[in-house]
């Protein structure tokens, strides 16, 4: 069955450092992959989408890579700030479906001042 794995342990880093979060998937071939941010008590908020023919995508301090051979996406936040502290969810997607999202369990990031 399809499986999406994110590091369930919280990631603690110092302000100013680069945070790197991992999303691994097995038993399917997504055409694209989305990353969402979720704060406590709130719904997820879309951050970035990367397609299978794109190796890397950037948005401000965010960078996402997508390696279809390794079946892995990496999500980087450079020059991290305490305001970046949240849970980050990956959601690989398959073309032609309804657009429903299949999420990983999320990784919680804590950026300490």
């Amino acid at each position: 069955s399809q499986k999406i794995e994110q590091n369930s342990e919280a990631l603690n880093i110092q302000e100013g450092k680069t945070a790197t979060l991992t999303c691994n998937y097995t038993n399917y071939s997504p055409a694209y992959l989305q990353w969402y941010r979720q704060d406590p008590g709130r719904g997820p908020v879309f951050l970035l989408l990367i397609r299978e023919n794109e190796k890397e995508k950037r948005k401000e301090r965010l960078k996402v890579t997508f390696d279809t051979t390794l079946k892995q996406s990496l999500f980087h936040i450079t020059a991290s700030q305490p305001a970046d502290s949240a849970t980050y969810l990956c959601a690989p997607g398959v073309s032609g479906n309804t657009g429903k999202l299949i999420f990983g369990q999320g990784t919680t990031l804590q950026v300490k001042p």
Partner: protein, 115 residues
């Protein structure tokens, strides 16, 4: 503009009671999704509407769960005879177009606690 809103934000039910959770999507959004999120987990898909048509209900865990969107805008998720395992946050999301990679906008969720 207004985002996706959900009501109530919190609901406490006794086991066996019926509950109804409401979602007001962004005006004009064709697609509407319901997800269930257990504590410490990512959201899990429940059902999908394209306008008023329920095109995918493969994620509904049992026939106690029922969703509708009769006029293609507001949606209601109903859970009959609630059980303790139904305790979770129920998230609604909408997107402008049907299917594909269009960004989904999530509401704040309804936290359901079944005692």
């Amino acid at each position: 503009g207004a985002g996706v809103s959900q009501s109530p934000r919190y609901k406490v039910a006794k086991r066996g009671q019926d509950v109804a959770l409401r979602c007001d999507p962004i005006s004009g959004h064709v697609s509407l999704f319901w997800y269930q999120q257990a504590l410490g987990q990512g959201p899990e898909f429940l059902t999908y509407f394209q306008n008023e048509a329920q095109l995918d209900k493969s994620g509904l865990p049992s026939d106690r769960f029922f969703a509708e969107r009769p006029e293609g805008s507001v949606s209601t998720l109903k859970i009959q005879r609630t059980q303790q395992e139904d305790s979770a946050v129920y998230l609604c999301a909408s997107s402008y177009v049907a299917g594909g990679t269009d960004t989904q906008y999530f509401g704040p969720g309804t936290r359901l606690t079944v005692l």
